[in-house]
């Protein structure tokens, strides 16, 4: 061959790239509840198919491993098969020439630890473990297990009030979730197999915008049971618990330390992401159930907690995580250095800071850091920068939040670890000094930064906002008798506080700072389990019927994304940043839903995750 060609080396490669996208979508849509060993087998087979055929461990070893592993998946293997697999996998890992071979074996060996329980069940009991069972993806992955396919169908039919009540059956915060939920429900949406996951949150937003939840009548409350339950902390978790307990007929008293209830939805999330009046709609609706008494500005101490536990039939502790973690570097006590959560908390009561002409630096890479930085922009800051130790992709904030922050002119100062804060003679903050970082080895699944061989850098700063995590005030409750481990309360999976009879605990104060929907789910679980603890088994209905499904429309169609108001406009006000869907858009989006409650596993016994 003397002639050179500009064609791809392999003519199939171009088509393959497109095909791989299909492959990747299938992996992404791996249904929840699938047997991990069956999945591992496909990975092994895919690896074997990728061999170039040069070296024995990979070319001959991987197909043999796959053949042996098939027996494990089929529950036809015994310990000796496992020993043979392990020995062969070690050799493939230890002596393949390139990563195609050794990585395949490494992941197989790793799965033997990660899924040890599943292996043992396949070998010893000849079945998958009990919880290996497929269920409707969106509903399963929503922590509150909202009946998503049903409310999507209701929105599709134009019954927005019905959709709101369908959500409410499992989650009394439809508006909050429509605006700020991180939507884990979308992550494995089956529609991904065809084009992309449904914009579930966007659909819900359409429903609550069309039928504001405080205008949608709530299903009737059960007759009074005469039982009294105390909820400590009126955030999403506490209020959800109160809502369901009140629905069941119990009398609930909510003790709230702040001026108003709403928790982090009010004192953590800025109004431009979730307008206050919309939060009030959710809260009004919850209180409209009846039987809920709210006591604000009550900080429960150990003595009161004891009293409450003795006077009430049960207590649910959901105090959240409201104290900003300090970053102890020289100068961190100077004037102009604030905790991010405390800033957001002040704003929650309507006291906006004035940063006019100030240079603001936010330390941290989570959603709180983004919220603070974007708040600072709206409070007149001359410049706003976010300082983060790792890279942009390592930030724990939602990618969309980071993108929006950048669009609003916020500087991302990455791979920089704060070292000290420089002050003037009056003790005012002047600048932040940082040590450049080098992204290093992956530990616990994340690359860790290490000091780079570079000089420290200085950025001028009049205000430094620390957003490096939140603490939980466990001390008074520990004094009373609750258990805490590494700063968070300890409870079993049913949220019963360890060592106590009638105390339940959940939300951020038990999980450490997490998402609103997880807190809501905890509130629901606590309400159910308190009801059960009190000897009841109340059933709740939502009085809405799930519409009959249409046959699947399989035409690939783009996903409707929500757009935001232009950055240069929105950054001047605290109005909602995001724009909802149009009727045309929501109809198209709803029509993409494959109704997995009806098609596929959802219809068979055990295919749903629903409570009645």
């Amino acid at each position: 061959m003397v002639k050179l060609s500009i064609a791809p080396k392999s003519h199939a490669d171009a088509q393959l790239t497109e095909y791989l996208e299909t492959y990747a979508r299938r992996i992404q849509a791996t249904p929840p509840g699938m047997c991990p060993l069956a999945l591992q087998l496909t990975l092994l087979q895919a690896s074997a198919a990728q061999t170039c055929g040069k070296c024995v461990p990979c070319r001959d070893g991987l197909p043999q491993l796959a053949a042996l592993f098939e027996k494990v998946v089929a529950c036809q293997a015994d310990e000796s098969t496992l020993t043979q697999i392990k020995e062969l996998a070690r050799m493939v890992k230890g002596s393949s020439d390139c990563a195609i071979g050794y990585e395949a074996a490494r992941s197989l060996l790793e799965s033997m630890n990660t899924f040890a329980g599943e292996y043992s069940s396949h070998i010893n009991n000849k079945v998958c473990t009990q919880d290996i069972e497929q269920t409707v993806p969106c509903e399963t992955l929503c922590p509150a297990h909202v009946d998503i396919p049903s409310y999507i169908a209701l929105v599709g039919e134009g019954d927005y009030a019905g959709a709101v009540n369908m959500v409410r059956k499992d989650n009394p915060f439809p508006t909050a979730c429509a605006y700020v939920c991180e939507h884990p429900c979308e992550s494995k949406c089956r529609r991904t197999l065809i084009d992309a996951p449904l914009n579930i949150r966007g659909i819900k937003r359409y429903a609550v915008d069309e039928a504001p939840v405080d205008t949608v009548p709530i299903p009737k409350r059960n007759p009074d049971t005469g039982r009294k339950i105390a909820v400590i902390g009126g955030g999403p978790s506490g209020l959800t618990c109160a809502y369901f307990l009140a629905q069941m007929g119990h009398a609930v008293t909510v003790f709230e330390a702040h001026k108003q209830i709403g928790g982090m939805l009010r004192y953590g999330i800025p109004a431009y992401r979730f307008p206050r009046e919309r939060l009030d709609e959710d809260i009004q609706a919850i209180l409209a159930v009846g039987g809920i008494e709210v006591k604000c500005e009550v900080t429960v101490d150990a003595r009161q907690m004891k009293e409450i536990a003795e006077t009430y039939d049960a207590v649910f502790v959901s105090i959240g995580a409201h104290v900003g973690k300090p970053l102890n570097i020289p100068g961190s006590d100077s004037k102009g250095v604030y905790s991010a959560v405390e800033l957001l908390s002040t704003i929650g009561d309507g006291n906006y800071p004035d940063f006019t002409g100030k240079r603001v630096v936010v330390v941290g890479g989570g959603n709180v850091a983004m919220d603070c930085a974007r708040t600072a922009v709206r409070s007149g800051a001359k410049s706003v920068g976010i300082v983060y130790r790792r890279r942009k992709e390592d930030m724990t904030a939602l990618a969309a939040e980071v993108e929006s922050a950048i669009a609003e002119g916020i500087d991302m100062i990455l791979l920089a670890a704060p070292v000290s804060i420089e002050t003037d003679e009056q003790g005012n903050c002047k600048a932040l000094h940082m040590q450049p970082q080098l992204i290093g080895p992956v530990k616990g699944g994340r690359p860790t930064p290490v000091d780079a061989n570079k000089d420290q850098v200085r950025i001028p700063a009049d205000i430094v906002l620390m957003a490096v995590g939140q603490d939980i005030v466990t001390q008074p409750f520990e004094e009373y008798g609750m258990q805490a481990h590494r700063g968070a309360f300890v409870a079993d999976e049913y949220l019963k506080a360890q060592g106590l009879e009638n105390v339940f605990v959940g939300g951020d104060c038990q999980t450490r700072p997490a998402t609103a929907i997880k807190a809501i789910a905890a509130g629901k679980v606590a309400a159910r389990n308190i009801d059960e603890y009190l000897g009841y088994r109340h059933k709740l209905t939502c009085d809405v019927v799930s519409p009959e499904p249409h046959a699947n429309d399989r035409t690939p169609m783009g996903r409707v994304d929500l757009i935001e108001r232009p950055a240069h406009i929105r950054k001047n006000d605290f109005e909602d940043v995001e724009l909802g869907m149009s009727l045309e858009e929501v109809k198209q989006e709803c029509a993409r839903c494959l109704r997995c409650d009806h098609y596929g596993c959802g219809e068979q016994e055990g295919g749903r995750v629903q409570y009645v």
């Binding site: 198919a49 040069k54 053949a67 002596s95």
Partner: protein
């Protein structure tokens, strides 16, 4: 070129920078097993039998293609290495029909290289194939008059490919269908004549299992032959060969490691160089043409030489030395050809000398 120092099995060695661990070990007489490696031809690290432990590395490395570094500490045997080598051999033999690796004296391959897999299996105690796959037997490629390929014996080590590429420089023998189904496309099938293959047999000599076989090997057992090192008489290159004789008859030739051929041979050297010795067409006595009948008749050496001397003397006398040319056969040795031209120049008085070493 600078030297580096490394330690293998406790022995400290100094070698030229760029030397592989395997080459360094061989210099120190430390044995590292190899299978797919073929010196100067192929070091692709396919079989993983030559893996060794290198201090500081989490996993073993193939000695054949890992260049030694200064200060390296190498261990050539350990429990882990033995296990890995055993599994590698086990995986290899699991794909083969048993004749390729089961030791059976009577059928063991004749070529010195061709039983390497058997030897290794014996050394590592491989008696059964643990990963036996029931693949249907594949057809043989058997149309080339000198060579055949049996895929059922092939371990896909690609030594033959290396031999054809970098030794024969023919690039005719390639791997086909890469991946798990990697095969060797040996050009010995029905269309063998239309391929570029020169039937030089270097691939067969490279094969460690006898999958590619020179057909002459089927005519004798290794124990029955004697080996004589000599020079190939076919042309002037001077390739070193090992002649194999059975009951006083030439039966085979193998390329020996001579300075001119480095173990290689061409088709004529390998399959033609000795065949004329016992050919029926061979002329075994001088022949003189009978002028009456026009037929050649058997003569004695004296008669023949007398005739040649008188005719040449007459020609020289009548027409001068320049009318004579001396043409030597290149199958003769250098010494003979030297004497022959000397005779031409001094006795015939001619400078018209040439030979046929242009084949």
């Amino acid at each position: 070129m600078s030297n580096i120092k490394l330690t293998i099995d406790g022995k400290t060695l100094e070698v030229v920078k760029g030397t592989t661990i395997l080459a360094a070990a061989q210099m120190a007489d430390i044995k590292i097993p190899t299978l797919c490696f073929l010196k100067d031809r192929s070091a692709i690290g396919s079989c993983r039998v030559c893996v060794v432990e290198v201090e500081g590395m989490e996993y073993p490395l193939p000695a054949c293609k890992t260049v030694a570094r200064d200060g390296m500490v190498v261990t050539t045997s350990s429990e882990r290495l033995t296990t890995y080598r055993r599994i590698a051999l086990d995986l290899i033999v699991s794909n083969l029909s048993e004749e390729a690796w089961k030791v059976d004296e009577a059928s063991s391959a004749a070529d010195t290289n061709n039983n390497q897999l058997q030897t290794l299996c014996q050394e590592y105690g491989i008696e059964t194939a643990s990963f036996k796959t029931a693949a249907p037997p594949k057809p043989k490629y058997d149309s080339n008059p000198f060579l055949s390929f049996d895929p059922n014996l092939c371990i896909r080590c690609q030594r033959c490919v290396g031999a054809c590429n970098s030794a024969a420089r023919n690039h005719t023998l390639r791997t086909g269908k890469k991946g798990t189904r990697t095969t060797i496309s040996a050009p010995f099938g029905k269309n063998w004549k239309s391929t570029e293959c020169e039937s030089c047999g270097n691939c067969a000599q490279a094969c460690p299992t006898g999958a590619i076989k020179a057909k002459v090997k089927l005519n004798y057992q290794p124990g029955e032959v004697q080996t004589t090192r000599t020079t190939c008489p076919f042309c002037g290159v001077g390739c070193q060969i090992d002649l194999k004789t059975k009951d006083g008859k030439l039966v085979d030739v193998e390329g020996a490691n001579g300075p001119a051929n480095k173990g290689l041979l061409c088709v004529k050297g390998r399959y033609g160089s000795y065949n004329f010795v016992d050919s029926n067409d061979r002329i075994r006595t001088p022949l003189i043409k009978n002028k009456q009948t026009g037929e050649f008749e058997v003569a004695s050496w004296d008669e023949a030489l007398t005739l040649v001397t008188s005719r040449l003397s007459d020609i020289k006398k009548q027409h001068g030395g320049d009318s004579i040319a001396a043409f030597a056969c290149s199958r003769s040795t250098n010494e003979d050809v030297y004497l022959f031209q000397k005779m031409a120049r001094t006795v015939f008085e001619t400078n018209n000398v040439d030979n046929c070493a242009r084949v």
